[in-house]
Amino acid sequence: MNSADVIPLPIAVLICGCLLAGAFFALAGAVGLVRLKSFYQRVHAPTLGSSLGMGLILVSSILYFSLARGHPVLHEILIAVFLTLTTPISLMLIVRAALARDRFEGNPDVPPVETLD
């Protein structure tokens, strides 16, 4: 906490708001991951933390470092870009693997093939 006092109070309040909201999204996603009943429901929960939760925390970090250092610190954008590109890919791969396994085992909860009914 070296030079945080340089940050004007209204912006500090904004940083706090983004940080708390982001952490809350991540926590809500984790609660969903634990509480939801079926696998395909649970997959949805962590996307809260990896979309808006991640975004809000990175925004607060960008604001914090840019103001504390007095020049724009933007490398958090890299993490945001990287995560928005990769989380859909990894989720899709997991879900496809789960679907393949469930179909292989003949699980009645998943549709055997894509059809229009």
């Binding site: 609660v31 969903g32 509480r35 809260l48 610190v73 933007l74 490398h75 890299l78 859909p88």
Partner: protein
């Protein structure tokens, strides 16, 4: 020009990434970034990516704005369900959607849009029949989801890429 810079957008993206990563505009970093951009851009060409044609850039930007708004809205919707403890009463299910979109880039973007939006996940796609299977967390009406995906995302994507 075409030989040294077959993918200018990709090379530019690599240069920008390098500069942001190093937080510097010093000549040394610029030089390294340009070299990286040229070499990795050429290496990317060796992967033989299918040709990309963006017909309508304005439409692409508009779609981007729609997606950002949708991601925020569905984040809040999913949060409301989880916090209200309504999660156990929610009906989730699979929806099959017939797609007319066939462009590989369009399909890739659609997959990312659907999966990045909390509450929907792209499950699988059969190219021969053009059938897409998605899983919806809060499924009220199947027909409505078919309409939403088709009108909101597929139609603009076809206008952009096909």
């Amino acid at each position: 020009m075409r030989r040294w810079l077959p993918y200018p957008a990709m090379s530019l993206f690599i240069l920008a990434t390098w500069l942001v990563l190093n937080q510097s505009l010093a000549p040394g970093h610029l030089l390294l970034g340009v070299i990286l951009g040229l070499v990795l851009g050429a290496a990317f060409g060796r992967l033989q990516p299918p040709p990309l044609r963006i017909r309508d850039r304005r439409r692409l930007l508009r779609l981007g704005a729609v997606v950002v708004a949708d991601v925020i809205r569905s984040n809040l919707a999913l949060l409301r369900i989880l916090v209200a403890g309504r999660a156990r009463a929610v009906r989730s299910g699979f929806v099959t959607i017939p797609l007319q979109l066939t462009d590989p880039y369009g399909l890739a973007v659609l997959a990312c849009i659907i999966t990045a939006t909390p509450g929907t996940i792209w499950m699988s796609y059969r190219a021969r029949e053009g059938l897409l299977l998605i899983h919806v967390f809060d499924l009220v009406d199947e027909g409505e989801w078919v309409r939403t995906i088709t009108e909101r995302y597929e139609t603009p994507l076809r206008e952009i890429f096909e």
